[in-house]
Symmetry: D2
Subunit: 141 residues, 4 copies
Amino acid sequence: MNGNMTAEMMQSMAMDAIGMPAMDTMMMQECIEACSACEQACTMCADNGMADGMMKCASMCMDCADVCNTMMRMMMRPTGFDMASMQAMLRACMTMCSACSDECGNHAEMSETCRMCAMACDACMKACESMLGMMRDAEMA
Amino acid sequence: MNGNMTAEMMQSMAMDAIGMPAMDTMMMQECIEACSACEQACTMCADNGMADGMMKCASMCMDCADVCNTMMRMMMRPTGFDMASMQAMLRACMTMCSACSDECGNHAEMSETCRMCAMACDACMKACESMLGMMRDAEMA
Amino acid sequence: MNGNMTAEMMQSMAMDAIGMPAMDTMMMQECIEACSACEQACTMCADNGMADGMMKCASMCMDCADVCNTMMRMMMRPTGFDMASMQAMLRACMTMCSACSDECGNHAEMSETCRMCAMACDACMKACESMLGMMRDAEMA
Amino acid sequence: MNGNMTAEMMQSMAMDAIGMPAMDTMMMQECIEACSACEQACTMCADNGMADGMMKCASMCMDCADVCNTMMRMMMRPTGFDMASMQAMLRACMTMCSACSDECGNHAEMSETCRMCAMACDACMKACESMLGMMRDAEMA
C-alpha cells in the first residue's frame, strides 16, 4: 500500500511539467522503495550490529541509512530537479550501498540481520544504477 | 516486500531480549510502515504544495516528514529503548500528523496530492495512538 | 559565524508576519544552536560508543541525534508553525535529551566523549525547557 | 562553542586509530561546520522561498539541506570510514551546493534569505572541495 500511494502521488504531481525529464516513473518508484527499504534495514542493522559488537558494520549502516533517506527524498522533489546533483547523489548512494553490503556480507553467516541488510543494500545499489542509466538515456534522447 | 523484510529483521533482532518490553510486533510494524508512508507523502506534498502556492501546507509537511522519519527510526532501535522518550515522541508525532492532516484537508478538494497526504497523516496518527495504548497496557501488566 | 548567520536569517524572515507568535528570537536562536550541538555530539558519541562497547548508549544517542535535528528544523520553519505540534515536540526533545544524558552520564568517568555528550544533552534539554516556558507565556499574553 | 565542542570530541575519538586516514582535523572540522551552516541556511530558505513563491529554489534547498546533513554525519562517524563512499558523497555535496547556490543567487537581489543561503552553499562547496583534495593527498602519501 505504501508503495502504491507513493506511485499514485508521483503521477498526480505530473513531474514532466516541472522540469524533471520524462522518466520511467515505474523505475523511479522502484528506486524510491529500494532506498526506503535500505534505510530501514540499515537503521535496524546499526542497532543490532552494536549488540553483536560489530562496530565498523554499525557505523557504515548509520551512514548508509542517512544516504538512502536523502536519496529517496531527492527523487520525491521533482520541482527542484537538477540533473547533475541527482546523478552525483545516485553515484554516492551506489558507492555507499556497495561498501555497506560488503561489510554486512562479512557477517551474513552469523547474523541474519546483516544478511538481510546486505540484500537491501544490493537491491538499492542496483535500483540506483538503473536510474542512472535511464537518466543518461534521457539526456541523450 | 519492504514491510515484510522490516518485520523479519525486527523479529530476528529479538527485541524482548534487549530492553524493549514485550510488544505486539505486528502493531509496531504497522506503525513503522505508517510513519514511512507519511514521511513519503509529506515529502512529496511539500514539494507539490509549493507548486500550487500553498505555503503553510508545504512547511507543515516538511515538519511532518522529519517527525515521522525520526519516529520510525526510534522504533527500529530497540537497543536503547526508553519508555518515556518513546511515549513523548509518539505524542509529538500524533499531534504533528493531526495538524498536518487538518491543513492538507483544507486543500483536498483541489489537490489530489493533499488529499492523499491527509490520508497518510491520519493513518500515521492512528498507528501512533495504537502504539501508545499498547505501551500503556505493557506498563501496567 | 554559523550561529550569527542563522540569527540574521531568522530575523530577515520576519517570523511574526507569518503566524509564529512574537517570540524572544534570541532564546529560539539559543535553542536552535543547542539542538545542533546536541545532534553533533550524539552522532559522534554513537559512533564512539560502539568502539567502547556501550550499546545502549550508542542506540540512545542515535535516537537523540534524530530528535534534535527534527526539533531544530521545526524551529527554522515559521511558515507552518503550529503551537500544539511545537510544544509536543519540545517535550519529546526534553525527555529524549534527559534520558540520553543519564545514560551518557553513566560512562562520563571513562569516556570523555560521553561526558561531553551528556553536557550537550543537558544544554539542549534546558534550551527546550526555556522555549516551552516562553511559548506558554506567549499563549497567555 | 558548538564548533569547539565538536572539535574536542573529534580529537578525543582518536580517529586515526580506527581506520580514517590521518587527516587535517582542522579542515574536517571546518567542513563539518560548513555543512551544518548550509543545512540550516537551506532549511530556512526553503521555508521562506515558499513565502515568496520561489518554488524551484525552495525544492532545491530542501534537497541541499538533506545532503548537507548526511555529509556532516558521515564525517562524524570515523568508525565506519570508507574512502570511496566519502569521496563520492563529497562530490555529491559539492554538486548539490553549487546548483543550489546558482538558484539562490538568482533571487539574491530581492531576498536577503536567498543571498545568505547562496553564501552558505558556496562555503560548503569549498569546504568539501578542500576535504576531497586532502583525501587525495592522503591516498597518495
